[in-house]
Every structure is written in structure tokens, then in C-alpha cells.
Subunit: 188 residues, 2 copies
Amino acid sequence: MKAGRGPVVKFTEASKPIPKIKASRVLAVLDFTLRVVAVLGTLASAVAMGTSRETLPFATRFIRFRARYKDLPTLTFFVMTNSIVCAYLVLSLPVSVVHMIWTAAVNSRIILIISDTVMMGLVTAGASAATAIVYLAHYGNPSTNWFAFCQQFNSFCGRISGSLIGSFIAITVLLLLIIMSSVAISRR
Amino acid sequence: MKAGRGPVVKFTEASKPIPKIKASRVLAVLDFTLRVVAVLGTLASAVAMGTSRETLPFATRFIRFRARYKDLPTLTFFVMTNSIVCAYLVLSLPVSVVHMIWTAAVNSRIILIISDTVMMGLVTAGASAATAIVYLAHYGNPSTNWFAFCQQFNSFCGRISGSLIGSFIAITVLLLLIIMSSVAISRR
């Protein structure tokens, strides 16, 4: 072992830092790409939910004429959280570009981990609260006499269910971003 | 600058590592304490929600005799997520103890960050979905004809509202743990 010590040291000093920087740059590019995906996901969710409305051509004593996302406070919360997280992700894109160039950055990565975690919590809260309400809209709850309204508002229900997808993609992406940032910090 | 180079090097070599290790140990002890707090929070939430039931002494055509958390699938999900996160936090306590002794550990910290983030997502999903349902139970929704049942089931509603507190404490604690772990990794 001792005889081979010289060349081994030479190897680690000369060749190792280059792939390390290369791997960090690949991680930074992946970080940027994932952020763009999450921006599109949250934007699509917010727009799809925010523009969901349906007016029925008929009316009975129990069914109202119109369904909008504003009728349910939880869906308003969903639109708000997705808009906030989308705005944050757009603002984080320049930081991600800086990480591509300056791969050794640590403090900015820690700030990104913290804010990514907060934003992941926010979008998870919005998405899961909305999912609970969308579930009720589809299946209702006989124990509490909460009736499903999806039989009547077919198109509205399809829209609010579909709008959850973008949000769940954003949650997955933010989780991946947090994992990648912590790996990038540990690789310094 | 060059004249003072000797003593400066001596200072960094001799005295700096000691407060660094000390600070890491303080962070590790704080990590353990916060995990215990989160264990108690999720346990209290799961138990408070899991044991909530109320039987009314009277009955009308619309009000059912009994309210249990199992009547609402979202509250069952809340109990499940809190139990899972509580179990995970108990299992993570030994790792936290290892970090107190071996402050330079990196790989185990990264695994903790990843699993803490997943668990934060899980408990946030459970808590916010349950909050959406508890909000409906308190205030109902006139647009969808979902009636508030908290006028009838006072004690049940108080219990399910209170059980959310432990869960939100656990979310805050997990957020702090993720921040502390990333700071600890960057301090190496």
C-alpha cells in the first residue's frame, strides 16, 4: 500500500476535481430544468383551477345555477398557494443559473434548500386540502349528509380534478430539488 | 500580512476546530430534542383524533346518532399519516444520538434530510386535508349544500380541531430539522 501511495495522491490531486465540478454542473443544469417543470406545473394548476366555472342550463330547488372555484374557500387557497410557489420558482431560476456557473456556492444553496422546503410545504398543503374537497365533490359523505355534486357539474369537476396534477408534479419536483441541493452541498 | 501569517495559521489550526465541533454537538442535541417534541406532537394528534367519538342522546331525521373519525376518510388519512411520521421519528432518534457523538457524519445526515422532507410532506398532506374537512365541519358550505355539523357535535368538533395542533407543531419542527441538518452539513 505504501509503495503505491505516491501515484494515488497524484491521481486524486490531478484528476478528481474535474469530474466533481462536471457532476456539480450537471446537477445545476438538472436543477434549472426541474424548476422550469415545476413552474409550468404550478402555473397550469393555478390557471386550470382559477378559470374553472360551469353554468347549468337548468335549476331545481337543490342545485345552484353556477359552480366556480371561489364557491369553495379551499380551492381559492389552492390557487393562492400555487400562484405563490410559481412566483417563487420563477424568482429562483436566476439563482439556479448562478449555480451552473459558480458550482462551489454553498450559502445560496442552503437558502434555496430552506425556501424550497417551505414552498414544498405550502404547495403540499394547498394540493392536499384541495384533494380532500375534490374527493368530497366526487363521492360526498353520507355520514355528514354532504352530497357529491359531480353528477351535476361534470365539466367543473373534471377541471378541478385535473388541476391537481400540476400541483402534485410540483411537489415531486421540489422534493427532488431539495435532495439534489443537499447532495450538491455534501459533494463540496 | 505576511509577517502575521505564522500566528494566524496557528490560531486556525489550534482553536477553530473546537468551537466548530462544540456548535455541531449543540445542533445535534437540539436535533434530538426537537425530534422528541415532534414525536409527542404526532402521537398526541393521532391519539386525540383516533379516540374522538360522540354519541348524541337524541336523533332527528337528518342528524345521526354517532360521530367517529372513521366516518370521514380524510380524518382516517390524518391518523394514518401522523402514526407513520411518529413511528419514523422514533426510529430516527438513535441516528440523532449517533450524530451527537460523531458530529462529522455526512451521509447519514443527507439520508435524514431526504426522509425528513418526505415525512414533512406526508404530515403536511394529512394535516391540511384534515384542516379543510374540519373547516367544513365548523362553517359548512352554502354553495354546495354541505351543512356544518359542529352545532350538534360540539365535543367531537372540539376534539378534531384540537388534534390538528400537534400535527402543525410536528410540521414546524420537521422544517427546523431540515434547516439544521443542511446547516450542519455545510459547516463540515
